[in-house]
Amino acid sequence: MLLFRSEEHVERSGTPAGAFMSADQIWGLADAWYHDRDDPQWRRRNLEESQKVFDDLGLKGDFWNLG
Protein backbone atom coordinates (compact mmCIF):
# COMPACT_ATOMS: atom_id res chain seq x y z
CA MET A 1 0.00 0.00 0.00
CA LEU A 2 1.72 3.09 -1.29
CA LEU A 3 0.98 6.81 -1.50
CA PHE A 4 1.36 8.14 -5.03
CA ARG A 5 1.15 11.73 -6.26
CA SER A 6 -1.88 10.83 -8.41
CA GLU A 7 -3.52 7.97 -10.29
CA GLU A 8 -1.51 8.99 -13.36
CA HIS A 9 1.69 8.38 -11.43
CA VAL A 10 0.50 4.87 -10.55
CA GLU A 11 -0.11 4.06 -14.22
CA ARG A 12 3.20 5.62 -15.29
CA SER A 13 5.12 3.58 -12.70
CA GLY A 14 3.93 0.28 -14.16
CA THR A 15 2.43 -0.77 -10.84
CA PRO A 16 0.01 -3.70 -11.27
CA ALA A 17 -3.66 -2.80 -11.36
CA GLY A 18 -5.40 -2.65 -8.04
CA ALA A 19 -7.61 -0.17 -6.28
CA PHE A 20 -7.38 3.33 -4.87
CA MET A 21 -8.40 5.03 -1.69
CA SER A 22 -8.16 8.65 -0.65
CA ALA A 23 -5.93 10.06 2.06
CA ASP A 24 -9.02 10.54 4.19
CA GLN A 25 -9.94 6.88 3.76
CA ILE A 26 -6.47 5.57 4.64
CA TRP A 27 -6.41 7.72 7.76
CA GLY A 28 -9.90 6.54 8.69
CA LEU A 29 -8.89 2.93 8.12
CA ALA A 30 -5.66 3.25 10.08
CA ASP A 31 -7.30 5.05 12.99
CA ALA A 32 -10.11 2.50 13.23
CA TRP A 33 -7.66 -0.40 12.88
CA TYR A 34 -4.92 0.62 15.26
CA HIS A 35 -6.10 3.21 17.81
CA ASP A 36 -6.74 0.62 20.52
CA ARG A 37 -3.96 -1.86 19.73
CA ASP A 38 -2.22 -1.22 23.08
CA ASP A 39 -5.34 -2.06 25.07
CA PRO A 40 -4.63 -5.23 27.08
CA GLN A 41 -8.12 -6.42 26.15
CA TRP A 42 -7.50 -5.96 22.42
CA ARG A 43 -8.26 -8.95 20.23
CA ARG A 44 -8.09 -9.40 16.49
CA ARG A 45 -11.32 -8.51 14.73
CA ASN A 46 -13.26 -11.33 13.18
CA LEU A 47 -14.11 -11.23 9.48
CA GLU A 48 -17.45 -9.51 9.90
CA GLU A 49 -16.03 -6.83 12.19
CA SER A 50 -13.15 -6.19 9.81
CA GLN A 51 -15.46 -5.96 6.82
CA LYS A 52 -17.61 -3.42 8.66
CA VAL A 53 -14.57 -1.14 9.07
CA PHE A 54 -14.07 -1.21 5.29
CA ASP A 55 -17.78 -0.81 4.57
CA ASP A 56 -18.10 2.17 6.91
CA LEU A 57 -15.35 3.94 4.95
CA GLY A 58 -17.16 3.34 1.66
CA LEU A 59 -14.73 0.61 0.62
CA LYS A 60 -17.19 -1.75 -1.01
CA GLY A 61 -16.97 -4.20 -3.90
CA ASP A 62 -15.02 -7.33 -4.74
CA PHE A 63 -11.57 -5.78 -4.21
CA TRP A 64 -12.37 -4.78 -0.63
CA ASN A 65 -14.18 -8.01 0.22
CA LEU A 66 -12.20 -9.72 2.99
CA GLY A 67 -13.99 -13.02 2.68
Binding site: F4, R5, V10, S13, I26, Y34, W64
Partner: protein
Protein backbone atom coordinates in the same frame (compact mmCIF):
# COMPACT_ATOMS: atom_id res chain seq x y z
CA UNK B 1 2.21 -20.69 25.90
CA UNK B 2 -1.31 -19.77 27.04
CA UNK B 3 -3.36 -16.86 25.72
CA UNK B 4 -2.47 -14.58 28.62
CA UNK B 5 1.23 -15.22 28.11
CA UNK B 6 1.01 -14.51 24.39
CA UNK B 7 -0.84 -11.29 25.13
CA UNK B 8 1.89 -10.29 27.58
CA UNK B 9 4.49 -10.83 24.86
CA UNK B 10 2.32 -8.91 22.36
CA UNK B 11 2.00 -5.91 24.66
CA UNK B 12 5.66 -5.85 25.62
CA UNK B 13 6.73 -5.81 21.98
CA UNK B 14 4.19 -3.13 21.06
CA UNK B 15 4.96 -0.85 24.01
CA UNK B 16 8.70 -1.16 23.45
CA UNK B 17 8.19 -0.03 19.85
CA UNK B 18 5.81 2.74 20.95
CA UNK B 19 8.46 4.05 23.33
CA UNK B 20 10.84 4.40 20.39
CA UNK B 21 13.14 1.53 21.37
CA UNK B 22 12.47 -0.53 18.25
CA UNK B 23 11.02 -4.01 17.94
CA UNK B 24 12.71 -6.27 20.52
CA UNK B 25 14.21 -9.67 19.79
CA UNK B 26 12.86 -12.75 21.56
CA UNK B 27 15.91 -12.65 23.81
CA UNK B 28 15.21 -9.07 24.83
CA UNK B 29 11.53 -9.84 25.39
CA UNK B 30 12.40 -12.88 27.48
CA UNK B 31 14.73 -10.85 29.69
CA UNK B 32 12.20 -8.06 30.12
CA UNK B 33 9.37 -10.42 31.03
CA UNK B 34 11.44 -12.86 33.10
CA UNK B 35 10.59 -15.81 30.89
CA UNK B 36 12.72 -18.24 28.91
CA UNK B 37 13.79 -17.28 25.42
CA UNK B 38 12.07 -20.38 24.07
CA UNK B 39 8.82 -19.10 25.55
CA UNK B 40 9.27 -15.73 23.90
CA UNK B 41 9.99 -17.49 20.59
CA UNK B 42 6.81 -19.50 21.05
CA UNK B 43 4.91 -16.28 21.75
CA UNK B 44 6.30 -14.74 18.57
CA UNK B 45 5.30 -17.88 16.63
CA UNK B 46 1.73 -17.74 17.92
CA UNK B 47 1.45 -14.02 17.22
CA UNK B 48 2.65 -14.60 13.66
CA UNK B 49 0.29 -17.53 13.22
CA UNK B 50 -2.57 -15.30 14.38
CA UNK B 51 -1.61 -12.56 11.88
CA UNK B 52 -0.89 -10.10 14.67
CA UNK B 53 2.87 -9.75 13.97
CA UNK B 54 5.20 -11.06 11.24
CA UNK B 55 8.37 -13.08 11.80
CA UNK B 56 11.65 -12.20 10.13
CA UNK B 57 11.96 -14.76 7.31
CA UNK B 58 14.27 -17.58 8.38
CA UNK B 59 14.67 -16.31 11.95
CA UNK B 60 12.01 -17.26 14.52
CA UNK B 61 13.75 -15.17 17.20
CA UNK B 62 13.01 -11.87 15.45
CA UNK B 63 9.99 -10.02 14.15
CA UNK B 64 9.99 -8.12 10.86
CA UNK B 65 6.73 -6.42 11.75
CA UNK B 66 5.14 -5.63 15.07
CA UNK B 67 2.18 -4.12 13.30
CA UNK B 68 1.91 -1.25 12.75
CA UNK B 69 5.67 -0.89 13.38
CA UNK B 70 8.39 -2.12 11.06
CA UNK B 71 11.52 -3.52 12.68
CA UNK B 72 13.57 -2.21 9.77
CA UNK B 73 13.67 1.22 8.11
CA UNK B 74 11.14 1.66 5.31
CA UNK B 75 9.97 4.38 2.94
CA UNK B 76 7.19 5.20 5.41
CA UNK B 77 8.68 7.38 8.12
CA UNK B 78 6.58 8.58 11.04
CA UNK B 79 7.25 11.53 13.31
CA UNK B 80 5.23 11.51 16.53
CA UNK B 81 5.88 12.33 20.18
CA UNK B 82 9.23 13.79 19.14
CA UNK B 83 10.46 10.44 17.86
CA UNK B 84 10.93 8.69 14.53
CA UNK B 85 9.29 5.38 13.65
CA UNK B 86 8.85 3.31 10.49
CA UNK B 87 5.58 1.83 9.25
CA UNK B 88 5.29 -1.26 7.06
CA UNK B 89 3.18 0.62 4.51
CA UNK B 90 1.14 3.80 4.33
CA UNK B 91 -1.72 2.13 6.25
CA UNK B 92 0.55 1.10 9.09
CA UNK B 93 2.44 4.40 9.11
CA UNK B 94 -0.88 6.18 9.67
CA UNK B 95 -1.66 3.50 12.25
CA UNK B 96 1.43 4.44 14.25
CA UNK B 97 0.19 8.03 14.47
CA UNK B 98 -3.20 6.74 15.61
CA UNK B 99 -1.70 4.43 18.20
CA UNK B 100 0.48 7.24 19.55
CA UNK B 101 -2.48 9.53 20.17
CA UNK B 102 -3.49 10.83 16.76
CA UNK B 103 -0.97 13.63 16.29
CA UNK B 104 2.02 13.29 13.99
CA UNK B 105 3.29 13.14 10.43
CA UNK B 106 3.81 10.43 7.85
CA UNK B 107 6.54 11.16 5.34
CA UNK B 108 7.07 9.13 2.20
CA UNK B 109 7.94 9.55 -1.47
CA UNK B 110 5.83 8.97 -4.57
CA UNK B 111 7.11 5.61 -5.89
CA UNK B 112 6.88 7.00 -9.42
CA UNK B 113 8.50 10.43 -9.32
CA UNK B 114 10.22 10.36 -5.94
CA UNK B 115 8.51 13.54 -4.77
CA UNK B 116 8.35 13.81 -0.98
CA UNK B 117 4.79 13.54 0.31
CA UNK B 118 3.40 14.19 3.77
CA UNK B 119 0.22 13.36 5.61
CA UNK B 120 -0.21 15.18 8.91
CA UNK B 121 -2.65 14.56 11.70
CA UNK B 122 -3.60 16.52 14.82
CA UNK B 123 -6.00 15.33 17.48
CA UNK B 124 -7.11 12.46 15.21
CA UNK B 125 -7.94 14.77 12.32
CA UNK B 126 -6.14 14.71 8.98
CA UNK B 127 -4.84 18.26 8.61
CA UNK B 128 -2.51 17.85 5.63
CA UNK B 129 -3.16 15.47 2.81
CA UNK B 130 -1.99 14.82 -0.71
CA UNK B 131 -1.92 12.02 -3.24
CA UNK B 132 -3.85 8.79 -3.58
CA UNK B 133 -3.27 5.44 -1.92
CA UNK B 134 -2.90 2.43 -4.19
CA UNK B 135 -3.53 -1.17 -3.10
CA UNK B 136 -2.10 -3.83 -5.42
CA UNK B 137 -3.41 -6.82 -3.51
CA UNK B 138 -7.14 -7.50 -3.01
CA UNK B 139 -8.17 -7.38 0.63
CA UNK B 140 -8.92 -11.09 0.88
CA UNK B 141 -5.27 -11.83 0.00
CA UNK B 142 -3.45 -9.23 2.09
CA UNK B 143 -1.83 -11.88 4.29
CA UNK B 144 -0.89 -14.30 1.48
CA UNK B 145 2.52 -12.62 1.27
CA UNK B 146 2.40 -9.89 3.87
CA UNK B 147 5.95 -8.66 3.37
CA UNK B 148 5.20 -8.03 -0.32
CA UNK B 149 1.83 -6.50 0.57
Amino acid sequence: MDTAGVNQVRLHVLRTAMDGHGVPSASQTATALGIGEEQAVEGYRQLAEGHVYVLEPGDPTRLRMANPFSAVPTAHEVKARGKTFFGNCIWDACGIVSLLGGTGEVRTQCPDCGDPMTLAMADRKLIRKEGVVHFSVPSAHLWDDIIFT
